[in-house]
């Protein structure tokens, strides 16, 4: 028993224990990426398909490194240039891949629920690498790991998630993960970009960024999709920066120093200023490093790896 079930579609269905299991399992995997030979045999012989229906650089490459460092065989399928662009349905695409005897599918898709939909229809393990506006669990896991690295705990932390919560799968997964592990979570951004009844997820709404900064131990600054302006959610990017931007001036007025997270890719000068992004309190690159470790942990656990991957670590290939 891995303790995670067949698929990882989100953090909402997971218990605090399951989330801690993933984070604890990620710890030893961090070290693998620091080795000269970055490879362990844990998933040798496993076949994994990275099925990406939306453009992604960071997440796809992070998964690919995680798979390769676990010795799995992986194939990348991009939606354009495949049968998907010829009108094949998601189910047919996945079933055809499965007919080639694969073990896991990592899926990124523009439709909320796509990962769960797939997981219910194929026998392979399914990992959600972002589905619409629903969840992006491995992003939240790497955020949790990064917070735990810096603070030594999650419980009791005050985390403000700032920006376009309405369209953000990162926000939803973070809300579930953080609240389950005992953090206090606030969301902050324009009212036009706050989902209806967001308080029902156990968060408080702080309308002004200054107040969020004064309250929080850490900010998770969401990417503002530039098309939100043309869709009428905000008047302009310039005004967004002036009213909601995370700037060094605003941070300087905070009673304590805040940790700054950002899932990337950043719009410098919009949701976050460069001197903050490049400053001493930003952990944006450590987040990326941790991303490989948590994805290795998820792959390892779903593939049936025992908690505490000691033996997997020992059999390093040379």
């Amino acid at each position: 028993m891995t303790g995670l079930g067949k698929d990882l579609v989100g953090l909402e269905p997971l218990s605090a224990e399951q989330i801690r299991l993933i984070l604890d399992t990620a710890e030893p995997f961090k070290e693998v990426s620091e080795r000269a030979i970055k490879k362990v045999p844990a998933l040798r012989g496993k076949t994994i398909v990275n099925l990406f229906f939306e453009a992604s650089t960071r997440t796809r490459i992070s998964f690919e490194f995680a798979e390769k460092r676990l010795s799995a065989d992986s194939v990348n399928v991009a939606a354009s240039g495949s049968s998907v662009s010829k009108g094949e349905t998601l189910v047919d695409t996945a079933k055809n891949l499965e007919a080639m005897r694969i073990d896991m599918v990592v899926i990124r898709h523009g439709a909320s629920g796509a990962a769960q939909f797939l997981g219910q229809r194929i026998a392979s393990n399914v990992i959600n690498a972002g589905d619409g506006k629903h969840e992006h669990p491995t992003q939240a896991l790497l955020d949790l790991l990064t917070l735990r690295d810096r603070f030594g705990r999650i419980e009791g932390l005050k985390i403000a998630i700032c920006g376009d919560v309405l369209h953000s799968r990162v926000a939803r997964s973070n809300i579930w993960g953080l609240t389950k592990l005992g953090a206090q979570v606030a969301v902050c951004g324009p009212a036009t970009l706050m989902p209806r009844d967001i308080e029902s997820l156990g968060v408080t709404v702080i309308p002004r960024i200054e107040d969020a900064i004064a309250w929080a131990d850490a900010l998770n600054v969401l990417r503002l999709q530039l098309e939100r302006m043309t869709a009428g959610f905000i008047p302009s990017l310039r005004e967004y920066n002036r009213v909601f931007g995370v700037t060094s001036e605003r941070l300087a007025r905070a009673p304590k120093e805040l940790l700054i997270l950002h899932p990337g890719p950043m719009n410098r000068g919009v949701e976050i200023d460069s001197d903050v992004a490049d400053g001493p309190h930003a952990v944006i690159l450590p987040q990326v490093t941790n991303g490989v470790a948590v994805r290795m942990a998820v792959l390892y656990l779903l593939a049936g790896g025992a908690p505490g991957p000691g033996q997997a670590m020992g059999g390093e290939e040379r």
Partner: protein
């Protein structure tokens, strides 16, 4: 014409005459010949034992999508009319969002002739409000009515232009027909896949706020007052809509409204797990909305129960939630849901239910039927109000299977349906 049929010993309910008691019903020559105790069975009269059953005027559905012409793989006039008969309906009104759109007299005539050929439930075409349902130019209401249309609607889409809605209501007065509107502000609803609320927030699906419906309900009521026309509000789903209609009726405006079984049975929580059989427009709403719809049906604010029977192919529903089409089929579950959800809990007595599913719908669209008065058309349903059964889509007469009620145990089901004096459905 067929031979006479004597339905004996059933509980005969006729809301129009206020009748409710054990009696026999004799139909002959396509008409109700007699209703009373101990009617003698004449020579060659078919006898039907209705002891323990309800005998009522056949159900009438104001809102059905039959998909013919254009999508005959989903439903045809014949298959839909058969499904209707199996559900206890003796007449259905077919929405004009076919392909091509039912916006001219030839298209209306085609549906009429297909219905005659099928010979099951009656099918009354509803003509389009605008040519091609494009929301610009009025369709030829006079010719539509001449060919057999009983109302006009651009259902599937709202009549966006208030000017067009105004002229439609005014022009329809000439022909004594209602304008049935699908109330939805498209700028608020655009891209929405379900009700906007707690569940859409959790699932990350774009929501359709209740306000999208209520804004158009309010507009239509205001235009009904301006024009004196008859607006019929389709598939009402929100508490706010019910309140608006209640106030309009208090003021004596010519506003009628219908609600669908799914809106008095289910809530947006049914969308959990991204079940596309819970995707419909208007969407499943919140528990308070469902309660308001039930209360509206109880106090008569909502005049009629209509199915919004919307067949879709399995493949089309077997998709990502955002990409799946809206709608569920309803002809074969409507009576069972109404009895289970409204009659069993004591919200509606059976005669009131018959009123909402037969008598009042007939009155709204000015259709024959809705009563068992002597001389009325012999459109009759015999149903068992107590039988418990399980919804098995594979057994449906409809060509489609898209229902969120599969596996649900319901109480009440039609056993026999008579249209124009002929048995068109009889449960084996």
């Amino acid at each position: 014409m067929s031979g006479a049929i004597l339905i004996r010993g059933g509980r005969v309910i006729d809301p129009l005459r206020g009748g409710d008691g054990i009696a026999d019903v004799l139909v002959s020559g396509g008409r109700v010949e007699a209703v009373g105790r101990n009617i003698p069975a004449g020579e060659g009269v078919r006898l039907i034992d209705a002891a323990g059953k309800v005998v009522a005027p056949g159900l009438i559905d104001l809102h059905t999508h039959l998909r013919e012409p254009g999508q005959e793989d989903l439903e045809t006039v014949a298959s839909g009319a058969m499904a209707a008969a199996a559900g206890g309906f003796t007449a259905v009104c077919a929405m004009p969002n076919t392909d091509p759109v039912t916006d001219n007299q030839a298209a209306v005539g085609f549906i009429v002739s297909q219905a005659q050929r099928a010979g099951k439930a009656r099918v009354y075409p509803i003509g389009a409000v605008s040519l091609g349902q494009k929301g610009q130019q009025l369709a030829e209401f006079g010719e539509l009515v001449g060919a057999g249309a009983v109302a006009v609607s651009d259902d599937g889409k709202p009549v966006v232009s208030s000017h067009l809605m105004r002229t439609a209501l005014e022009y329809a007065k000439t022909f004594g027909i209602p304008v049935a509107d699908h109330c939805e502000d498209p700028t608020l609803a655009q891209g929405g896949a379900m009700h906007e609320g707690i569940v859409s927030t959790r699932l990350g699906l774009k929501g359709i706020p209740a306000a999208a419906e209520e804004i158009m309900v309010a507009r239509d009521i205001i235009l009904a007052e301006l024009t004196g026309g008859h607006v019929h509000l389709c598939h009402m789903s929100t508490r706010g809509s019910v309140e608006l209609i209640r106030r309009a009726k208090d003021r004596g405006l010519r506003v009628t409204a219908e609600a669908c079984p799914h809106h008095f049975s289910l809530t947006h929580e049914r969308c959990e797990g991204y079940d596309t059989n819970a995707k419909m427009n208007p969407p499943l709403r919140e528990p308070a909305d469902r309660e308001a719809i039930r209360e509206g049906l109880r106090d008569g604010t909502i005049d009629a129960i209509a199915t919004d029977h919307a067949p879709h192919h399995y493949d089309a529903k077997e998709r990502e939630f955002d990409d799946a089409p809206n709608g569920i089929i309803g002809l074969e579950t409507a009576l069972g849901l109404a009895i289970t959800e409204l009659v069993e809990p004591g919200l509606l007595a059976l005669p009131e239910l018959i009123r909402r599913m037969s008598t009042t719908p007939a009155g709204i669209f000015n259709l024959p039927g809705g009563t068992l008065a002597v001389g009325a058309p012999a459109d009759v349903v015999v149903f068992d109000p107590a039988v418990e059964w399980e919804v098995r889509p594979a057994a449906f007469y409809s060509k489609s299977r898209n229902t969120p009620f599969a596996g649900r145990r319901l109480r009440g089901r039609a056993d026999l349906t008579i249209v124009r004096g002929e048995v068109v459905f009889e449960r084996a």
